[in-house]
């Protein structure tokens, strides 16, 4: 089956929703694809233990009311099936979608770095724990340590506390000087300053990072370097994330140019490839406010409404300045490159230890010798980790873009010639 749309949007987070709503009044036939069961992306993820902010509810209601916008949830992009055509898979079927214009709103994922014990049950990403909690994972009475970097640590702590966790420590790797400078700058974005104040937590420490997760069958304690001093904290859970990295895989597969580890776009949010746009975190980490305005610019531009798109440029510049501050102040301390020990697994799919990788010259060499990045996640976790640890260029995505059913792959095959 093939469906046709004027405008196809990949990702129903803030950028994707804003793009659809900006483009909808034009009357274009619009589809949004998202691999999660509900729209919202990561920041507005819905779930049994989620409390959606008012803005998220507004966007969802507006989307549901737009009769020319169709949302396909729990649907993922598998492959490029032809010119302006993608192969998709949902719970029950595989189908093709043809588009005139595409907007990539594929978001970001957490940078998850290897350290001893990071594969133990009980250890999750920081945003990862937040997502799991929204989906109903209970934390009642559990002791939690949060570590890594960025404002997401505080947001994750707030969600976990609501779900019953006892926060033991929030370890931020950035220095006190960097955090102070960041906080001073926040007066330029009063809403953000208010948010920061609301999220403040007495367990928060700067200049601190995880050294090891301890336990045999599951997590029992966390060893931290806290301002140069080693401390051990007993806990049932560790949520650890080192910032966000852009999901560029689909953009790369579509041959859109990638620069600075993000999909490159111009002032109109247009990619290097004609009729392809990108907005939100996949063009560089900047937060939901920037994603919303970028999405709206892309949506307007994609349906030829240059004037409306241009009117949003000043608003984008304001949030881009905030993103610049974030990226600068939460830059990673190079000590984090030394966390993995010889036997620490770097590739969690194929259980490849650090010692098997440290001697290799690059990603291809590592794959040939160790199967690193050749498991189901296709290097999305270890590829990003190796890019940080060894400065290796991340793997080029290959089809299928995610593990799929054989029946789905068969759709990519040419029909047999008659006779």
């Amino acid at each position: 089956m093939t469906r046709d749309f004027d405008l196809l949007i990949i990702g129903a987070g803030p950028a994707g929703m804003a793009a659809a709503l900006a483009a909808a009044p034009s009357g274009a036939r619009i589809a949004i694809i998202d691999d999660n069961p509900a729209p919202g992306g990561q920041i507005w993820r819905d779930g049994v233990q989620a409390q959606l902010p008012a803005a998220a509810q507004r966007y969802r209601a507006a989307l549901a009311a737009a009769s020319n916008v169709q949302l396909f949830a729990a649907t993922r992009v598998v492959a490029i099936a032809g010119p302006q055509q993608l192969l998709l898979e949902d719970d029950n079927s595989a189908w093709n979608v043809r588009y005139s214009t595409l907007i990539l709103c594929t978001g970001a994922r957490e940078l998850l770095l290897p350290f001893p014990g990071w594969t133990l049950p009980g250890v999750t990403g920081a945003g990862g724990l937040q997502a799991l909690v929204k989906g109903g994972v209970p934390l009642t009475g559990e002791r939690l340590v949060i570590a890594g970097s960025g404002p997401l640590l505080l947001a994750s702590a707030a969600s976990a506390r609501k779900a019953g966790a006892q926060i033991q420590r929030i370890a931020e790797q950035a220095s006190l000087a960097a955090l102070s400078a960041f906080t001073l700058q926040l007066t330029r974005w009063p809403g953000k300053l208010l948010q920061a104040t609301q999220l403040l937590d007495s367990h928060y420490r700067s200049d601190s990072f995880v050294v090891a997760a301890l336990g045999s069958e599951k997590l029992e304690a966390v060893r931290l370097n806290q301002c140069g001093k080693i401390v051990e904290i007993p806990c049932e859970r560790l949520a650890c994330g080192f910032g966000l990295i852009a999901n560029t895989q689909l953009g790369q597969a579509l041959e859109c140019r990638v620069a600075d580890q993000a999909i490159a776009v111009d002032d109109w949010q247009a990619c290097s490839r004609t009729d392809h746009y990108a907005a939100g975190e996949c063009t560089g980490f900047g937060g939901s406010e920037l994603a919303l305005v970028e999405g709206a610019i892309a949506g307007h531009a994609a349906v030829g409404e240059q004037q409306q798109a241009r009117a949003l440029w000043p608003q984008r510049a304001r949030w881009q300045a905030f993103a610049t501050q974030l990226n600068r102040r939460f830059a990673l301390n190079s000590q984090l490159k030394q966390l993995a020990e010889a036997d620490t697994l770097v590739c969690r799919c194929e259980d490849v230890p650090y010692s098997a990788l440290a001697e290799r010259s690059g990603w291809v060499d590592a794959k040939l010798h160790s199967r690193c990045g050749m498991g189901p996640c296709q290097g999305r976790i270890c590829g990003a980790a190796c890019e940080y640890l060894f400065d290796w260029q991340a793997p080029t995505p290959r089809v299928p873009l995610s593990p799929v059913r054989c029946a789905t792959l068969l759709q990519l095959a040419e029909p047999p010639a008659a006779g």
Partner: protein
């Protein structure tokens, strides 16, 4: 409430609960055993790392991106 089966045991969860949450509500939270024999549990929470893959009604699916449905048969990998 939704009734599903987790490794042969009946489990009741609230509407909107993910299979990843059901793993914790009805078991030890683990989803699979790695190629070198380590027990693993949901990790990234957002459909990237593939650690939470389980068998759902006979198909390999990601627990973190699948909502529980009545009658669902979920099998973790021992």
């Amino acid at each position: 409430m939704i009734e599903l089966s987790l490794d042969g045991q009946l489990l009741r969860v609230a509407q909107g609960t993910t299979v990843a949450a059901a793993l914790y509500l009805g078991g030890d939270g683990n989803s699979r055993t790695s190629v070198s024999g380590q027990r693993r549990a949901p990790f990234c929470g957002m459909g990237v790392c593939q650690e939470c893959r389980v068998s759902i009604d006979g198909q390999r699916r990601l627990a973190c991106q699948t909502l529980c449905r009545t009658g669902m048969q979920v099998e973790t990998q021992a």
